[in-house]
């Protein structure tokens, strides 16, 4: 187990949560880069497009994800860029869920309640507009 500079040992669970954030950010970044490269190859520039297809829209975040899975995308650039944005948004959300389990594992009831409250507020805001 890695020993940090405070002289203590870093719990594996805490490290796992850290990796979760890093993995989410890397996946999102890669998807965005692929999307932007395809966009550049298709249009020959990276100007801000006013094309209606470039605007993302949904009733709420969860139905937006469902819509992306079930509907066919007009271009691969849109597909990759949208997927990147979804992963980027989901990363901190998954981190909050992981935190609930982390505090439960630590038997810190106070922070389980605080984190659950944050999770409920964030879930409601993602589920309704």
């Amino acid at each position: 187990m890695r020993v940090n500079k405070l002289g203590g040992s870093e719990p594996k669970f805490e490290k796992a949560i850290g990796y979760l954030l890093i993995i989410g950010v890397i996946i999102s970044l890669l998807l965005e880069i692929v999307g932007v490269v395809i966009l550049y190859r298709s249009y020959g520039n990276l100007n801000i497009s006013q094309d209606a297809n470039m605007y993302i829209k949904g009733r709420d975040f969860f139905s937006f994800i469902y819509q992306q899975i079930t509907e066919k995308h007009t271009t691969n650039a849109i597909l990759f860029m949208t997927a990147g944005i979804i992963v980027l948004i989901l990363t901190p959300y998954v981190r909050v869920i992981a935190s609930v389990f982390y505090f439960a594992w630590q038997r810190n009831i106070r922070y389980v309640l605080v984190t659950l409250f944050v999770l409920v507020v964030v879930t409601l805001s993602l589920a309704f507009h």
């Binding site: 405070l6 965005e32 949904g58 709420d60 975040f61 948004i89 993602l126």
Partner: protein, 170 residues
């Protein structure tokens, strides 16, 4: 943004002094911690204070972020440092994380409004993510004073840019 300059002189001339005491709510919430400061080569221990007042400040910051889309980072950093008595580096990293949560809370509304443009969002996401990764690595290697000076310079530039845009659009 102007609130950022409330204690400008004190911020860049005085070093951060950790609070010795803690109010009841902050104590109940176990708001204390420590980190290893690479630039000072020492462990910094701190106690957060005024959790209730800080929470109200964050409510204002959240409202500003939701309505203006500015992330309200500058305001949050001021609340962290002057009300909650956090060390500057803890304040900066906490602010970065909280901005993500603020964005999460508003995403459905933005999606419903249909104003999110992929050709604008994707390059911004790439740039800010790479910048945040590099900034996070550099942060612990610079002094608190340098960090504060950088913060004030960037806030001043933002104010100038907003004023310029405002005046030019008249």
């Amino acid at each position: 943004m102007l609130t950022s300059f409330a204690k400008f002189k004190e911020s860049i001339t005085k070093e951060f002094v950790p609070s010795e005491s803690q109010d009841g709510v902050s104590k109940w919430l176990q708001l204390k911690g420590s980190y290893f400061d690479e630039s000072a080569n020492k462990v910094v221990e701190y106690k957060v204070n005024n959790a209730v007042l800080g929470g109200m400040g964050m409510l204002v910051a959240g409202l500003a972020a939701g309505m203006l889309g500015i992330g309200a980072g500058a305001f949050k950093v001021m609340v962290h440092e002057y009300i909650l008595k956090m060390p500057p580096k803890v304040s900066s990293t906490t602010s970065s994380f909280v901005i993500g949560m603020t964005a999460l809370a508003g995403i459905s509304v933005y999606l419903f409004s249909g104003l999110m443009n992929l050709t604008l969002m994707a390059p911004m996401a790439i740039g800010t993510t790479i910048g945040a990764v590099v900034g996070g690595r550099v942060l612990n290697h610079i002094s608190n004073r340098t960090l504060r000076i950088l913060f004030f310079v960037i806030v001043a530039l933002l104010i100038a840019q907003m004023l310029y845009k405002g005046v030019m659009s008249l």
